[in-house]
Symmetry: C2
Subunit: 242 residues, 2 copies
């Protein structure tokens, strides 16, 4: 049975980290909220999961994955579940934990990237917190992007099986998520990210190599890949980059 | 061999979520950075782990756990690892994932609570972002605390084994973390949190019951429990509560 991915239909957002894993593995999946209502899909189906009081493991928010009777929320937990099933993580407990730890750190950067344009409240418009956004983005560019990318660089440099992958000698979902993180940072903060990547060439290599992965390249060229936009997590507001 | 917990020695912070699990289980552990240098402990030992280029799985930041040759960072990943070993999670994959998903959502609240006093930059003093902190805290109190606690309330109400625990019929690390979350919110935002708890009595019950757990009560009364303070994640600044 196909996996069901439920996520907001018009942005990459956090759902994209799950989508990349499903696509790179060639998994059979339905992107429910983006599907047609005549097939029993569409955003209302997703909303019903969020509101249905009979679900014993309610997701707090999208993305969530439905696999038969299993419903899982939280991007990193979804990838923890999918990793072994899609062949996108090593077999040992140590490798699975380490891959998950990398994913959790990527999730931390993503949350901070979101807060550069919403430093005061998710419920307010960007325009109403723009001054604070400029300040927060400045600190994110100066301190956080370099610090996080330098840490991933050191992880790659220390991988005993070589710097082509974050964990071991094979592609994992953490590599795909690092690709997506770099994509997002390059979209939202092109100047600052290019500057940071000059000091983290191994991260740049992982990003470039993932884009050449056959199935991933097909996906990225397809209309299944939603373009970045200013409703998502990574937003290009020129005043936030330098 | 005793578990080694490494965390900043003067705050509860994120380390406390791990500490509560170790204490509630009666586990043998060393709180390394708080230990004496004559025993080979102290904060410099923790710092060496963060700086040692020979570690193949470097933690991004404290807390991290050392268990023999295993080094794990990220609070939620540490609890994922410790849960089965300490008997603080169910046996099935479904229960483990669900417990982890709850923990990840608690981690999200913790990050947002941190940002109420540091909405612009972690590297700046509170005093230098106080105006923005007042705004962010207002939104956190009005929207986020009620929303998150209502979700945990619904999780408890939907537990087919009863509302005494988040998962199944036994204490899990997620219950302990929910206790700590409520403790922290009551410390930092006493008025707003009491107001929210009036609408989430099951959450209040989990909090009250955890405090009566024999080993946990002993720990909370001991000097191993660092009092909340204004260097931690949950800070009591009266101007941020209402």
């Amino acid at each position: 049975m196909a996996y069901e991915l439920h996520y907001w239909p018009t942005i990459q957002g956090r759902g994209e980290f799950v989508r990349l894993a499903l696509e790179a593995a060639g998994a059979d999946y339905v992107d429910v909220a983006r599907g047609p209502e005549r097939k029993g899909q569409g955003a209302p189906v997703m909303m019903r999961y969020l509101e249905n009081p009979e679900i014993q493991t309610p997701p707090f928010a999208p993305p969530f994955l439905v696999d038969g009777r299993v419903i899982i929320g939280q991007t990193s937990a979804i990838l923890l579940y999918l990793g072994p099933r899609l062949g996108l993580v090593g077999k040992s407990e140590a490798k699975r934990l380490w891959t998950h730890q990398l994913q959790l750190t990527i999730a931390d950067v993503v949350a901070e990237a979101h807060d550069t344009h919403h430093p005061i409240a998710t419920g307010l418009y960007y325009e109403d917190q723009k001054k604070e956004a400029v300040q927060r983005a400045k600190a994110f560019r100066a301190q956080r992007i370099p610090k996080f990318l330098a840490w991933f660089e050191s992880v790659l440099a220390r991988n005993p099986q070589g710097p082509a992958h974050l964990v071991g000698a094979r592609l994992s979902y953490a590599d795909l998520s690092l690709f997506q993180l770099v994509e997002g940072l390059l979209y939202a903060f092109p100047k600052a990210t290019r500057r940071a990547l000059r000091r983290t060439p191994l991260v740049g290599d992982v990003h470039a190599r993932a884009a050449q992965h056959r199935r991933l390249a097909q996906y990225l060229a397809s209309d299944r890949r939603i373009p970045f936009n200013e409703d998502g997590i990574f937003r290009r507001y020129p005043e936030l980059d330098a």
